[in-house]
């Protein structure tokens, strides 16, 4: 009678142990899956924000790449923020598109060239911590710092300002 009771008790404990093992395994797989998914999403978001910022600037420059139309200047004497300036003439009037980084965002501001503007007037396009610009020998370099501090550098060769040499 005692032996039968002890066998039943042992089997009971084994069932409990098997269940605990099952539950822990299920939890481990679930946590692993969640961690893996979180890492994938974070990597995708990082790639998206990195690509969007530089490709946005590339698209704007390609669109406005005319002779002497693309320059790198300061936003204004009062606000010495590095600014990418794209000039165009619409119905005889000069207009400017300014692309710059201000208050944690990459901004775009399109105005008539003579208009007095402030950096906060621009439309926030993307989150960014900084924008460094340089234009040398028709080679435009833009370094965009994202909110996490990672820097993406884009180099663009301006198509205008040169002529093809005869073969």
């Amino acid at each position: 009678m005692t032996a039968k009771l002890s066998t039943r008790k042992g089997a009971g404990w084994a069932v409990v142990l098997a269940f605990v093992f099952f539950a822990l395994s299920a939890l481990a797989v679930l946590l692993l899956g969640a961690r893996s998914y979180r890492a994938l999403v974070a990597r995708d978001e990082d790639a998206f924000s990195r690509r969007s910022a530089v490709q946005y600037i590339a698209a704007k420059v390609r669109h406005g790449d005319m002779l002497h139309a693309v320059t790198v200047e300061e936003f204004s004497p009062q606000h010495p923020i590095p600014t990418l300036l794209l000039r165009e003439t619409i119905e005889g009037e000069p207009y400017l598109t300014r692309i710059y980084c201000y208050d944690g965002a990459l901004r775009e501001l399109f105005t008539w060239a003579g208009e007095e503007v402030a950096p906060q007037d621009g439309q926030a396009v993307l989150e960014a911590a900084g924008l460094a610009l340089s234009l040398e020998d028709n080679l435009l370099t833009c370094a965009v710092t994202d909110p996490t501090g990672q820097v993406s550098t884009l180099t663009l060769s301006l198509r205008t300002g040169g002529e093809v040499t005869a073969p």
């Binding site: 039968k4 089997a11 009971g12 069932v15 269940f19 080679l139 993406s152 550098t153 093809v164 040499t165």
Partner: protein, 139 residues
């Protein structure tokens, strides 16, 4: 009586076994997804670096001048630029190679940019062939 008391245990063990088989498949899928995602991120970044190199070559007009601007090391006809895991120049994880190609059209130069992951044995992350015309400044 004894076999009846072991029945729940058998059920638990079979259930755990089936679960472990399914879990092994899931873990393998997670690892594969992670590898694909890492490679996609690296390819994304490699494409940006390749694009930068191409634009530099186009602005410079020839490979040697572009290599100087990019600070790429020459080895024969090919110019090599090494990067760290974070794509900072000067590491030993990724390698960008620019090599000239023959162009059948006079006045049109041609080259190929390849970005390799030096820790992986598989295909290059990016291979792009491009052409450009030599230009002189209008200034």
């Amino acid at each position: 009586m004894k076999s009846r008391s072991l029945l729940p245990l058998m059920e638990q063990l079979i259930m755990t076994l089936v679960f472990l088989l399914a879990a092994a498949l899931c873990v393998r899928a997670f690892v594969t997804a992670d590898l694909i995602s890492r490679r996609s991120a690296a390819r994304d970044r490699a494409l940006l670096e390749a694009q930068n190199a191409i634009e530099t070559v186009r602005a410079s007009g020839d490979l040697s001048s572009a290599a100087k601007t990019l600070r790429a090391a020459p080895s024969g006809d090919t110019f090599t630029l090494l990067y760290t895991t974070d794509w900072v120049p000067g590491g030993d994880r990724y390698c960008l190679q620019i090599s000239p190609e023959n162009s059948p059209i006079p006045g049109l130069s041609r080259a190929r940019v390849q970005v390799l992951d030096l820790t992986a044995q598989d295909d290059p992350l990016v291979t792009v062939s491009f052409s450009w015309q030599e230009v002189k400044s209008l200034e």
